[in-house]
Symmetry: C2
Subunit: 210 residues, 2 copies
């Protein structure tokens, strides 16, 4: 379900919201580039407006399942309630790949891959779809078929949970990779220059002692 | 400048914006808890409203310098221009510490430390303050005194750069740590349960060959 379709060369439409203007050469509008970044991430930052346009940005686990991004939370959570009314939202996923150390401060940068998705969330109410989304979310976040080995979810647990689907219809990726790009006249400046790679790494699993 | 004052026991005021309602036991309103998370992170997600309340969330490097959070970008960037008009913004920093694998899907979670900061950015225009902020940002992001070894910034570079300071006046931290919290009756369910630690790790530096 989360497989990327290598033969899909379709791109997202460019809209006023998702058209990259700063350093546009770093943008990619094709579905596979966007999907690959979404599939590697675990946590999105979701933006929505509260009263009088106050923006809120909250970290949230997510999973891309086909052409939707699934998020979940408590039925009484403010974020879930606001998003389920179909307000415009922005869901951003960022993978940090490195610190780019140039000879000049000005050309310092970071290597990264990031995605913004715009749209309105749809409440998943159909029981079959809701169960499938929770299974898909759980298996994606835990890297495999854990769901079937778990104590089955109860109807009370499912009822306490809001599941939202954000259609993957208006999105874009932006990324930077590679070495620093210093000015030609600075190339012999006597300071170390290069990239310090950064990545989110798994440690040794800690078995629950309880 | 970025040192935490261990003797400072002051807390941020609780407002309608920054009061944690979901799982409030995970909240911390004291300055040191907030500062420690901000000082460990490299990238914030900044939320601001565009036309008709459309929220935008963009990843941005930042540094806490004393009681301000500093961000920078191009003078012609949309985000910098919008934020410098003093619109309400939300700056969120998230550190991912682990995946929490419970016996039930419902009790799966993540370990994390995150901060939200609310307020309005102030444009840093004074040349001395602007240079100090760019030096502070650079040294913080690169872990030390790199600035003094770099090819000095030019006035043209500084003029091309917008520096914004978000006062650290209304903020809160939320965090989770430790093992899964399964229901008592599930403790013998035959599935591995525990925590898979996650952290952003530095790799071997790659010297620029150019
Ligand atoms: C890595 C990670 C993954 C998460 N995954 C999920 C998920 O899948 N589903 C889910 O429902 N929640 C998730 N959360 C928690 C989420 O960020 C919110 O705390 C939660 O959704 C409640 O939202 P609310 O608007 O109802 O919060 P409220 O409690 O009403 O929020 C009120 C105020 O509390 C503060 N606040 C709330 N959350 C945070 C936070 N995380 N960090 C700092 N300040 C905060 C903000 O200032 C906010 O305006 C995750 C958090 C982290 C860090
Ligand atoms: C790890 C990281 C650190 C960054 N640090 C900084 C920094 O310190 N200063 C700075 O100015 N910029 C930084 N950026 C880039 C930043 O996210 C914006 O791209 C940039 O600030 C331009 O903003 P804008 O509103 O002017 O963009 P515009 O080009 O006007 O944005 C138009 C649209 O393009 C899309 N878009 C823009 N940026 C991104 C993105 N990063 N990912 C996905 N879609 C995007 C969005 O849909 C957006 O609405 C960083 C990015 C990453 C991933
Ligand atoms: C360690 C220090 C620094 C880091 C890690 C850093 C990082 C970044 C990153 C990640 C971007 C976004 C690039 C993109 O959109 O892909 C950026 C943009 C920018 N930075 Fe920095 N920066 C640093 C220091 C500086 C300094 C000291 C200056 C000015 C003297 C500066 C000026 C700029 C400008 C003008 C932009 C906008 C680029 C554009 O949109 O055209 N940076 N920086
Ligand atoms: C791998 C799978 C899952 C992960 C990683 C995960 C992660 C999370 C995280 C990080 C939170 C936020 C907790 C906080 O605010 O500190 C959360 C909240 C929540 N999750 Fe999950 N979750 C998973 C699966 C599920 C499933 C399958 C269900 C329902 C059957 C569920 C129901 C809930 C509910 C109801 C909340 C809201 C808690 C509250 O605000 O009181 N989760 N989840």
């Amino acid at each position: 379900m989360t497989l990327i379709d290598e033969t899909d060369t379709s791109t997202f439409p460019r809209t006023p919201r998702n058209t990259v203007r700063r350093l546009p050469a770093r943008a990619a509008y094709d579905r596979n580039s966007v999907a690959a970044i979404l599939d590697e991430g675990l946590v999105a930052h979701i933006g929505f407006a509260g009263d009088r346009g106050q923006p809120f940005v909250l970290p949230t686990a997510y999973a891309r399942l086909g052409d939707k991004v699934i998020v979940h939370g408590s039925v009484i959570s403010r974020m879930m309630k606001v998003l389920s009314t179909g307000v415009p939202m922005c869901l951003t996923v960022t993978l940090i790949d490195g610190l780019v150390l140039a000879r000049s401060a000005f050309h310092h940068s970071m290597n990264y891959r990031s995605v913004t998705v715009f749209g309105e969330a749809v409440l998943v109410t159909d029981p079959g779809e809701k169960a499938a989304a929770l299974k898909g979310l759980t298996d994606k976040l835990t890297n495999g078929g854990r769901w079937d080995d778990l104590r089955p979810v109860t109807s009370k647990e499912v009822a306490a949970t809001t599941v939202l689907a954000l259609p993957l219809a208006e999105a874009v990726a932006k990324s930077r990779s590679g070495p620093p790009k210093d000015d030609a006249e600075d190339m012999n400046w006597p300071v170390w220059a290069g990239v310090v790679p950064l990545s989110l790494v798994k440690g040794e699993p800690i078995t629950d002692q309880a």
